[in-house]
């Protein structure tokens, strides 16, 4: 089983101008633990919406790369959005699903990925062009370039263990994040 924080850290190494969106839950803490960045956008409500925020951003910014880093709970809550993304075929969008098969933030209750649902297979059937399911931490180094230049839509299904990590809680100011994101990406009007 991969260590989630180590995996996310390796994926985001030398990230450059990669735009990163995180979903409600532990994935936000994993990304924040790598250091805050104005091109990070942490979503704190509307569970299930993260992948779609990624789609809207990827469509608006075909000149940039977008990575959604989120958990299995967030993806499961809106499985249909994988089909929506597959239909649109955004070449610049990657979804990284950190799948620990539990709702870690609410007391480790099991999710459907531990028993029934293979999210990699789901993404494949929804039209994602590249689907990877790393099992060794070293694979993060070969997946990293795909976030920057791979032909999407890309889905990285990372099954991880349930190791506990420090909760690094970043800003929860939605307006502030919006403006700093637009500023950092040259769109502040």
């Amino acid at each position: 089983m991969l260590d989630r924080r180590d995996f996310v850290g390796r994926l985001l190494k030398d990230r450059g101008d990669l735009m990163v969106l995180t979903g409600l839950g532990t994935a936000t803490f994993d990304v924040a633990a790598q250091g805050d960045n104005p091109l990070n956008f942490y979503i704190w409500s509307g569970m299930g919406c993260t992948a779609m925020v990624g789609l809207g951003l990827a469509l608006a910014r075909p000149d940039r790369r977008v990575a959604v880093i989120t958990g299995d709970g967030d993806v499961l809550m809106a499985l249909g959005s994988l089909a929506t993304i597959g239909s649109q075929q955004p070449k610049n969008l990657s979804i990284v699903c950190i799948d620990n098969a539990v709702y870690a933030a609410t007391g480790m209750q099991p999710t459907a990925t531990g028993t029934a649902c293979d999210l990699a297979a789901t993404a494949r059937s929804c039209g994602f062009t590249q689907v990877m399911a790393p099992t060794d931490i070293a694979e993060a180094d070969t997946l990293r370039p795909l976030l920057h230049s791979g032909q999407g839509p890309l889905f990285i299904h990372a099954r991880v263990g349930t190791q506990k990590h420090e909760r690094i809680i970043p800003t929860r100011d939605g307006y502030g994040m919006k403006y700093r994101f637009l500023e950092a990406s040259g769109k502040r009007s």
Binding site: M19, L21, F41, I43, W44, S45, G46, M47, G48, C49, T50, A51, M52, V53, G54, L55, G56, L57, A58, L59, A60, R61, A78, G80, S81, A83, T84, S87, Q88, G174, Y175, M177, K178, F181, L182, S185, K187, S189
Partner: protein, 184 residues
């Protein structure tokens, strides 16, 4: 596409041009992404957006996906609108919250169900709740009952949403849309 437009005109009981006027307002305000779950009343507008090279139309599997699309467009510097029927509003209550939390502007156009001559009376509960639900979700809500008001109300909605980063909904009355029996 022409076939779909013909069906829409028949469903509307006339060759109503309010969808064309909404599309023209979208162009005037540089709306670049339009997400939708189909509705008979929206058929022509969806078709106009799909044919427009400057608009990316996104077919959603659930209306609940729409607010995410809108926030993403906002972060990318684009303006977005959503089209749905009143039943879809209920699907969005939680995801609407991201728009309010981040000051992401949206123009939401809702075709009403369950309020006038709807062949399916089960549409009534959600139709009756739609306006109040949107207000509770932080939307400024306009209602349009007459075709002549479609364009000025849409213009006002766009000025308010995109000028002030607000969430604005426009409800199109079922009587105005003049839904044919059996239409969904």
């Amino acid at each position: 596409m022409a076939h779909a437009q013909d069906q829409s005109s028949q469903a509307n009981g006339s060759h109503a041009d309010w969808p064309d006027r909404i599309h023209a307002v979208f162009k005037k305000f540089n709306v670049r992404q339009v997400g939708h779950v189909p509705d008979t009343g929206h058929t022509r507008l969806i078709s106009l957006c799909a044919q427009d090279n400057e608009i990316t139309d996104v077919v959603l599997t659930s209306e609940a996906e729409g607010p995410g699309l809108v926030l993403g467009a906002t972060l990318g510097g684009e303006r977005a609108a959503l089209l749905m029927q009143s039943s879809g509003v209920g699907n969005c209550i939680n995801t609407f919250s991201i728009l309010q939390n981040c000051g992401a502007p949206i123009v939401l156009i809702v075709t009403m169900r369950g309020e006038f001559n709807d062949f399916n009376p089960w549409q009534r509960p959600m139709g009756k709740m739609t306006e109040e639900t949107l207000k509770l979700c932080g939307f400024h809500v306009y209602r349009v009952d007459e075709e002549k008001d479609v364009e000025p109300v849409l213009v006002a909605a766009c000025y308010m949403a995109f000028g002030g980063n607000f969430q604005v909904a426009v409800l199109l009355s079922q009587r105005m849309i003049n839904r044919m029996p059996g239409a969904h």
